[in-house]
């Protein structure tokens, strides 16, 4: 029994959900809106599960064509859903994690829209979220690079919309354009990546004559032999696309800023699903990459360097979500390095487990932030009672007078007692991310490391191992800072645990984070075998005990160091980070993201602004406006109209002619009027003369 005919419904269900909420949302309560959106995503998950079930009986790729799309000349593309083991893996992750996050978001946005005093925006959030699921499903199920690109752009749009969800304020709710600037930054950075993707697609169509996956991959070996430069160019341009969407060096700068979006967005789009699209793209294009080892190495190197680079930045961050954002970039680096090395199964494995534990971490961070917000409001309420009724109005708005950052870890501390459920969930996520046995992250990360080690990518292996060390360190630092010690802010002391609608999805994710490794235990290799049906280049890797021991050992050492620095002697309120005392300027570098943003400003953006100024002031204003329009066009026109046409043609020609006629008529008339002297006898004389003339004519003719 197969269910392949259901394939289009992975897109239709979210679209139906978003249309329902879009059209009828005004009459729905928050619960109904949330339920519709979650159901839409949940049904997509059910369909995905049915597709996986169908594939277990029929492991070959199934293409389900919905209709003709583009048929121009030799470009023959249909709107086809591709159901194979790779795409269904992504579908399961997207809709599964997506559904949990939808449910979580019902609770999260309920409070978020109240803290930010805009209840109407609740519905909009779920419309966007459903739209994202639909776009992501198109991305993973597309049967051609162009259809993939449609989804690719769709998720980019949703990312933009959701980062700028609170577009008229900054992350602390103050009026500012910070959030919308973050959205623009994401859009622009992705646009650069999309440019690479597009160029790659054009080259592909030029070289292969098709954009359909199978047709491209079939020709790949032949073209690689006859025209290796072309494939290298295609793979490297695709890599630009990957660095944009998956936030790799050099285009990673947008992802930390993307934390301006609500936390469920950070979890769903900017950790679990959308940013992994690049990894999916490389895996999907495996047939191209395996033909160009040099490109593979570059991809792996970009991933590994990003992994280490972002991990060091994460160490210096104070914002709980920023740490996770850099951690995400770092982990994406792991995945990209994995798929770059040709360890496609390992990369995808890490993608899946990372989706579990990073979504868990982000959502738990969201829960912490909400708890801090609650504590802060609670605090305002206490102050309100203390101050009495006289200053009622002032203290009511007093909650917003003090700038309080609920996401700043320096305001937290001791949350273990006030938010115990979140603490345990966060701990599970942390252990999974740090790669501690037997959590999911251990298995997937280890598989990538083992690949790097056994395939002889020594540099990449060490880069990733050091990155893993930092990963464990910054996660340890976060745990100690957030949950242990004493509250450094009254809000942390009054923080409250989140409701069930928030914690239950977290528990599911936590369970997945613990057990996710079972997907691909070494020796069993469920996921590798599953993916091998689609990606034929998967080499089974033996479990490397020494690699596992080194990485786990380093992780434990890192956690120990973090305990030594942050756990042994907890940070006091207002105290400087102990690592900053030790490392000084190096820590400042980590804290300030190694000045990459400043570098980009100095190298690209300021130059861009200069060029813009040049274009605006010199080209547009001075040349185009002042010279061309004013002098050339307006001047010529004025000359023509004033001098040539007015003075010569009009005044001297037409005017003179008609004035002449008038003058002549006047002169003639004033001459003739002398005959009209009123004396009858002079008229009679003319009559007489006339008669004489006529008679004379008649007589003498």
């Amino acid at each position: 029994m197969t269910f392949f005919y259901l394939a289009p419904w992975i897109v239709f269900f979210p679209v139906i959900g978003l249309l329902l909420n879009l059209i009828f949302g005004d009459w729905f309560s928050e619960k109904v809106i949330g339920t519709i959106a979650s159901l839409a995503s949940g049904l997509a998950f059910v369909v995905s599960a049915l597709l996986v079930f169908s594939l277990t009986q029929h492991p070959d790729v199934v293409r389900w064509t919905l209709g003709e799309w583009i048929h121009i000349g030799t470009l023959q593309l249909d709107w086809t859903f591709r159901v194979d083991t790779l795409s269904t893996t992504m579908m399961l992750v997207v809709s599964g994690v997506g559904t949990l996050i939808h449910i979580y978001a019902i609770g999260y946005m309920h409070e978020d829209v109240r803290f930010k005093s805009d209840l109407k925006r609740f519905r909009r959030f779920f419309v966007f979220l459903n739209l994202f699921i639909a776009a992501m499903m198109i991305l993973v199920s597309g049967d051609s690079y162009l259809m993939l690109f449609v989804g690719w752009e769709g998720v980019g749009l949703c990312s933009f919309l959701l980062i700028g969800f609170w577009y008229e304020m900054d992350t602390l709710g103050r009026p500012s354009w910070a959030n919308s600037n973050a959205a623009k930054k994401a859009m622009i950075a992705n646009r650069i990546g999309d440019f690479g993707f597009l160029i790659a697609s054009f080259l592909m169509f030029w070289g292969f004559g098709s954009l359909q996956f199978d047709q491209v991959f079939q020709q790949a070996p032949a073209i690689a032999a006859s025209n290796p430069g072309l494939i290298t160019a295609i793979t490297l341009f695709l890599l630009i696309g990957v660095t944009g969407k998956s936030a790799q060096i050099p285009l990673f700068v947008w992802l930390p800023d993307a934390m301006a979006g609500p936390t469920p967005v950070s979890a769903l789009i900017h950790a679990a699903t959308m940013v992994t699209a690049g990894v999916y793209l490389v895996t999907r294009s495996a047939a191209l990459y395996v033909t160009v080892p040099a490109a593979q190495f570059i991809v792996a190197l970009v991933g590994a360097v990003t992994a280490l680079f972002a991990a060091t930045i994460a160490v210096g961050q104070y914002d709980i979500k920023k740490v996770l954002a850099y951690s995400t970039i770092s982990q994406l680096g792991f995945m990209v390095a994995g798929v770059g090395m040709g360890a496609f199964a390992a990369g995808m494995f890490h993608l899946v487990t990372h989706a579990f534990f990073k979504a868990l971490l982000f959502l738990s961070a969201g829960s912490i932030i909400l708890g801090m917000e609650r504590g802060h409001h609670h605090l305002a309420h206490i102050h309100h009672e203390e101050k009495g009724k006289k200053k009622e109005e002032k203290s009511h708005s007093g909650a917003h007078e003090e700038v309080f950052d609920p996401g700043d870890m320096r305001n937290m501390g001791g949350l273990r007692k006030t938010m115990p459920v979140t603490f345990w969930l966060y701990l599970i996520g942390t252990l999974a991310l740090a790669g501690i046995w037997p959590f999911a992250g251990f298995w997937s990360k280890d598989e990538i490391l083992a690949n790097a080690f056994s395939q002889g990518f020594t540099a990449i292996y060490w880069l990733l191992t050091i990155a893993a060390f930092f990963t464990a360190f910054y996660m340890g630092r976060q745990i100690w800072m957030v949950f242990f010690g004493e509250p450094r802010h009254e809000a942390a002391a009054h923080a409250e645990e989140s409701p069930k609608v928030i914690t239950v999805p977290l528990m599911v994710l936590a369970a997945l984070s613990v057990l996710g490794g079972a997907l691909n235990y070494p020796g069993v290799d469920t996921l590798s075998n599953w993916l091998e049906n689609t990606v034929q280049f998967i080499k089974p890797i033996e479990f490397q005990m020494n690699v596992a021991l080194i990485s786990t050992g380093l992780a434990l050492i890192a956690i120990l160091i973090s305990w030594f620095l942050y756990g042994r002697k907890p940070l006091k309120a207002g105290e400087i980070d102990p690592l900053k005392k030790m490392l000084g300027p190096i820590f400042t570098g980590m804290e300030r993201k190694w000045f990459v943003d400043e570098l980009y400003w100095a190298v690209f953006l300021d130059r861009y602004v200069d060029v813009s100024h040049f274009l605006a002031d010199v080209i547009d204003w001075k040349f185009w406006h002042d010279w061309f329009h004013e002098k050339v066009i307006a001047g010529t026109y004025n000359w023509l109209s004033n001098i040539a046409l007015n003075r010569y043609v009009d005044q001297l020609g037409i005017d003179a002619f008609f004035n002449g006629i008038g003058e002549w008529t006047k002169e003639t008339a004033s001459g003739l009027r002398r005959f009209q002297n009123g004396f009858v006898r002079s008229y009679a004389l003319f009559v007489l003369l006339g008669v004489v003339a006529i008679l004379g004519y008649l007589i003498f003719k």
């Binding site: 009123g678 009858v680 006898r681 007489l688």
Partner: protein, 100 residues
């Protein structure tokens, strides 16, 4: 018998005298008389020609002309009286109201 050319010549002389009188004289009464002169010059020519052609229509026509001339004089005199009443003058030089 007097030849017809003499009649016609006389008629022409009379007509010319009449026309010049109309053009030159200032007195409306004289002008009327000059007009009569012209009419009668025409009458004379008509009568002379009818004598030669031996037809009656011209003779009858002369009577019509005389009648019209009489009526015209009556109307003309009435006009002169009316003009005199308003202008207290019948000098033809004062009557240039048609001047453009």
């Amino acid at each position: 018998m007097v030849p017809v050319t003499d009649y016609v010549a006389l008629s022409a002389i009379l007509f010319t005298i009449g026309a010049l009188g109309v053009l030159i004289r200032r007195n409306p009464l004289i002008i009327f008389m000059s007009i009569e002169l012209m009419l009668n010059a025409a009458n004379l020519a008509i009568v002379a020609f009818t004598r030669v052609r031996i037809v009656l229509e011209g003779q009858i026509f002369v009577f019509f002309v005389m009648t019209v001339a009489a009526a015209e004089v009556a109307v003309g005199l009435a006009l002169i009286v009316a003009i005199f009443r308003t202008k207290h003058s019948i000098n033809i030089d004062d009557m240039n109201n048609l001047k453009g």
